[in-house]
Each structure stands twice: as C-alpha cells, then as structure tokens.
Symmetry: C2
Subunit: 455 residues, 2 copies
Amino acid sequence: MTDIDQYLRLHGERFEAELCDLLRIASVSAQPECRAEILRAADWLDARFRRLGFRSEIVATEGCPLVVAESPHVEGAPTALVYGHYDVQPADPLDRWTSPPFEPTRRGGNLYARGATDDKGQMLTHLLSAEAWVECRGALPLNLKYVIEGEEEVGSRSLETYLAGQADRLATDCIVISDGAQFAPGIPAICYGLRGIAYYELRVAGPNRDLHSGSFGGSVTNPAGALAKVLAGMTDNQGRVTIPGFYDDVAPLSDQERRLLAELPFDETEYLLQLGVTGTWGEEGYTLLERRWARPAYDVCGLWSGYQGEGAKTILPATAHAKFSFRLVPNQDPHKITQGIKWLLTELCPPGIELELVDLHGSPGLLVSLESPYVDAAARAIEQAFGRRPVLTREGGSIPIVATLHETLRADVLLLGWGQNDDNTPAPDEKLSLADFHRGIRASARLWQELAHVP
Amino acid sequence: MTDIDQYLRLHGERFEAELCDLLRIASVSAQPECRAEILRAADWLDARFRRLGFRSEIVATEGCPLVVAESPHVEGAPTALVYGHYDVQPADPLDRWTSPPFEPTRRGGNLYARGATDDKGQMLTHLLSAEAWVECRGALPLNLKYVIEGEEEVGSRSLETYLAGQADRLATDCIVISDGAQFAPGIPAICYGLRGIAYYELRVAGPNRDLHSGSFGGSVTNPAGALAKVLAGMTDNQGRVTIPGFYDDVAPLSDQERRLLAELPFDETEYLLQLGVTGTWGEEGYTLLERRWARPAYDVCGLWSGYQGEGAKTILPATAHAKFSFRLVPNQDPHKITQGIKWLLTELCPPGIELELVDLHGSPGLLVSLESPYVDAAARAIEQAFGRRPVLTREGGSIPIVATLHETLRADVLLLGWGQNDDNTPAPDEKLSLADFHRGIRASARLWQELAHVP
C-alpha cells in the first residue's frame, strides 16, 4: 500500500480544499429555504463521482435528490455499498458559532463547519480513498456502489421509497457507513448497534387568543402548563417511560455484553466534566454507557409558548409546542410507540385543551452480528491506518435508513465512525479533526483491499 | 349636571383624538428599547395636566418616571386620588394584530390599540371629566390628586419607592382606579377585591452546549425535560399548588360571599364559548368564578428551549426557560411564596442540572369593605351614567401597587373598571369600546360630585 499512502500524503491538502468546497454549501434539509443549496450539494457530488470515472446519477425524488454512483465493474470481485448523506442539521443558534457555520475554518488542527463531521467530511473519505486506488492502480480491487442522500436529518423518506425498487441494482456484500464517532481520541471503534428513533411535535391549543393571566388564570386550562404536565408524565421518577407496552419489545442486554461495555476504557467523571454537568440521571438500574447506547431514552428537543422576551408578561398563552423524541433500541417498533403515545396523551390531557401529535419521523434500531467476516476485515483495515485495533461499541444515535438498507439489501452493515464525541454535532462549532479525516481516508483505502479478500 | 353632560357630548370627538395621540406612543415598560417612548408618554400627560390648570410634575425615578398632578385647592372639600398607568404590555406577536398596535384604529364602535383599555383609555376618563368641571363650573367640587406611573406592567418598583416618603403630600380620603372590566356589556361593576401576584423566571442549565440527542440522550439530564417536570410538579392532579404552606394564609370565602358570586348573572357556557375552549379545569371544589377571582392560580406564561423551527432537530438542549406566576389572594405574602418555591425547586430538581429562580415581581392581594361610604358614592355615580346599579365583584388580575397605595395612604380603594372582559389585554387586538370610554367619562364626572358629598 506504499503507493497509495504516498498518493494520499501528496494530495492531502487538495482533499481538505475539496471538503471545504462541499462544506460551503448550506444544504440544510429541515429548512425549505435551503432548497437551492440542497440541489447544489447533489450536483457537486455527482460531478465529483464523474471526475473519478464512476457512473453517477442524480435521482430526483419528492424531497431532496439522491446521488447514486458506481465504480467501473471488476469481474469476480465482491461489492461494497457506501451510504452517506450530504444534508446537514440547521445551524442555529448562529450567534454561538465562533466562525460562520458555512465558512469552513481551520483552528487547532480541526476544521469547523456545519456538516464537517456529520456527514460530509466522513462520507468524503470513501470517495477520496477510491480516487487513490484509481490513480495509483488504475482500478479498485472490488466493486463500489455509493448511495448519498439528502434527507438523513429529516427521516430519509425519499431514500426509503427509492430503496423499495432497487434491491437488485444496489445488491452488495456489505454496507459501509461512516457517520459517527470513534470511542475516544486515538481509540477507533466499530459500532455494531444503533438506536432507532421516534420523533414528534406536540401542539397544544387552548383559548382562541392569549389571555390575561390575572383576569382568566384559574378559570381555564393553561396550554403551557398542560404541555409541562404531558411532557413530564411521559416518564416516571425512576426515569422509565410510562407509555404502556413501551418496554415489551426491548432486546435485553446479555450479561456478556454488559461485561464488554463495562470493560471499555470509559471515564464517567471525565465524560461529565467535558459536558459541563455535575451529575448524571436516567433510567435506574443501568450504567451511563448502557443508558446511552443500549437502552431507550426520552428527550425534549424543543419548547415554545407565550412570552419569551425580557421582563414579565402576565399572559395565559393560547398555544404551546414541544418537539420530543424517543431513542429506541432493537426490537422496538416506532409505529407501535406512536400508538402508545396517542393512548397516553388521551390519558394525560386535561379538559379544555386540544392536543395534536405530529409524527415527524421514526426508524427502528439495529444490531450487527459480531461473527461477521466483514467486521473482521474492517477491524484489520482500521488497525493498519490508526495503529491500534478498534474497540467494539454500540451507538446511541440513529441513522434512520440503516435498518432499511440492512433489510432491503440483506447485507452486513459496517459502522466506522471517523469523528469524535466532542465534534459538536448538531450544536454550534461543529468540527472534524483533520488528522481523523486523513486517517479515515487511509483506513478506507485499506478497507477496499481487505474486503476484496473476504472469502 | 346638564351643563357638564352637554360639554362632554360637544367635546367627545376631541377626547377620542386625544386618546389616540397617547396610544400612538409605544410606552412598553418591559422593553428597554422603548425608553424614549416612555419619556414621551410622561411628557404628554404632564403637559395635559398643565393645560387643565393643574400643578403637575414629572418625578424622575430609577426606572420610568411618575407623573404627579393636583387640581387647584378647594378649601374644606374632600380629596380623591386617581391612580393609573401610562405604560403598556409588549405588543408581540405583532403579526396577529389586525391593525398595527400603535396606530389606533376604529372598527365597529371600538378603538383598537395596545393600551386602549389597559390603561390609557380608562385612566384618561378621570382627566377629561375634570376638564368638564373646570370648563363648565370654573372649579372641581373636591380636591383631585393624580399619580400616573410607568411601571405597572413590570411591578411598580419606582412608585413603591416614591410612596414611602409621600404619605402626607398624597393624603386622600379615597383612591380611584379604573384599570379593569365591567362585569359584562351593560352591567357595570365595582370591584372590591383584587388578587396579588408572584411572577418568576426559571432558568434551567444543563450541559455546556446543545448535545446530539442520539449520542447523549439517556446519559445526562435533559434541561427541557427537567423544566417540564419542575413546572408540572408545582400543582397536583386536583389543580392544587404543591408549594408547602401555600394555602396557609389564604383568606377563605365566606358562605355569604359564595352566595353573592353564585347569584351573579354569569353564563359559564357562554364564557367558555367566547374563549373558544370546550371545557374548564382548575382547583377542585370551587366554581369557575371563585377560581378566577377569589382563589390562587398558577400559570405558565412563557416557555423556550432548544429547537423551535420547522421539522426535526435531534437535540438535547443546553438550557430551558420558563416564565410563570401565581395569582395570590388575601392574605398570601409573595415573599413567603418565593421561599416556598425555592424549597420545592430543591425537592424537584434532578441531578445534573442547575436551576436559577429570578423573582420578577410580587404584590399581595386586596379586599375593600363593602360598608365603605365611598363604595356607595361610586355606585350612585355609575348608576346615573350607565343607567343601572353596578354589581359588586372581585377581580382575578392584580394592580400590584394598589395594596401599597391602600396601606400607605390608609384610604378606601374604588376599583371602577370601564373596560370589557373581551378587550384582549394583553393579547393582540387590544380594544376599548368608545361607548364605554364616554360612559366612563360621564361616570367619573358624577363621581366627583358624589364624593364631594360623602359625610
């Protein structure tokens, strides 16, 4: 691999410049006003694949387009499919960014921009590693397919629809995804489990206008107070979700797995210190890592109602809103969870207000077998590039489409995160370490080699 | 009173124009950027009192200035002190106003503007009625003092400070305040009880940045979820406040008073219909009117945290905020309530977050004796102007300074609301019926006559 390593060193700066180009495109899928930037990002990728000599296509959808590309066919070689996404999270609050979110800026060995780690920087490693093979060896040692979508941050609906008819075209031996974090700086990881998600908006409507809280307070139900009651009622005082049947399908942690998690070099005190909190709280009976990776979690993601300005406004607000989510674990079914929430809402809703639940998106979790030969191949590739064998972990986040990819293509999934846990996604000052970016490209180049030799 | 009635008719249009002038001044006390408008409103009133031949003074304070005026002395006659305020509530949300909040607009017999009823329109009736006496009779039949403040909507702190040293200068036989509503259209009222208030902002701080709810959810306390728990924990499922000792000092309703309240021509169905709600909810064991006027109430006035935009953002927010208030009844002490809340917060606060309680303002409630001869005098004046005897009511709102005025000046308080319950204060489209405005001026002119003859 000397030739390839040398190529990667020689072109490292240009790779960074290319990433910066892509990061300058504000492809926020949640915000309709970013539509033109979404299209620009897809065009950028499509052109990039073509420059590599790959077949590439922009697939129009009802939402954001997909970019689907394929390397020149290598007869008799296995196939890997790379999944990634070019859309990013909203950048607000803008005033808390040190440098503007869509002007990539290098500081202290990191590249700061919205999308740097999630997922433009990580996704690009698998394209640039292919370039090295093509330029150094004239061809890849295996067949590569790429599916890069633009709706990962809003539920991957268009890709879900697309996949239904493309099982043959996208047929693959394994699926490669880099959209996560290493275990810690210097400790790479292969992630064998993802949580799912069920994300909702709750709208509470009370009186037909904002009322004076003095003249009317106590006589009618306060929508903001009712919202607090409903949100609070979704967990008990032991941190357990109160939705009926919520835990029925939860795949329990095996003793072996609890032991593996406990053996990871995880410093809870350091973790809390880094987050700036003085204590931890969650479902009783589980360790912090278990709660974070392998147990369901309930989070209120947004709240708004009534007066948010300075000083006092004596108001009984007409409406109140929340966004909240449940992180799900295998084998919870988001649709069943939605039914349970609806039942709970009718239980918790006081008279005089109306609740509307909007199901924004949902996807199940995933577990990959630790016996998979592709996991072994990836571990070897990472060990060569990072200088140490990766640990095996699970991940609390969701890549909503991964379970569908797995089910549709019946292929093992390799979750190879090149980022770090403090990369600030989806907060202000999102970043990617440039060292990780280049190590990721090196590991990816070796991965193609290792996967080509899986029996 | 024929001469005075004729004068009021003749000058009615000009009175409306003068009110519009004052309403065009955006004197929002809660918003520091409105400082210049606050000063303009005070200047306007000061100049207006001088044009009437009254002594008038703008009293500078640490906050918004007071306007203190006095009619030429009438030897041997009693004194009435008029209290009012020239500051108004914030006008947001601006996009829900039919016409701009600070461009007074006539529609269907009403004048629409922020401050139309609360309190510029009502307060002005007591100035314009005095003009009629001065112009028709050359003098008032009693001594009038006016204290018009600019911080009623934010807690009246400057006036509280000022009053401490002015008991002699402001000495009076009774206090006249019009800053409320009639019982219903065509049914004027004298209000003999006000609720107090204790208003707070609660700030919840969790991790040092917004976190990804997938990677971190379940491992650290969610500030927005914690806020919901804390706010929900302030009442039980029977609508009773859970702060220890909260009800200890509550003056209970007498059987006679409950009977009087029950006899009022109040149509609960119509009330709920007008507010656009299908049901009512509050403290168990009390009627809607009792809950609204004579029992404490808890209201969440504002909420904000995390993502409030379109679609889904998978965030564990760093902070969460609420504004909330308790409406208090005699003899609850706001300071004692604050202590109780602080105790409850330490009980309800989960590990890993920090709570900060900001006491924005507080004032006790008030009850006036129904035996007061001034109440009788006011009832006669109102009967003449409105064509029917007023009902006796209590009011759920607070005029925070009223209890202090009562205590400092040791004078009976006459709460004579000229507005209506659907005047939309403090919501968009605040209004005052022009018929009520003119009836208020007529009743005020007669009030000076009746008060002059109280033995």
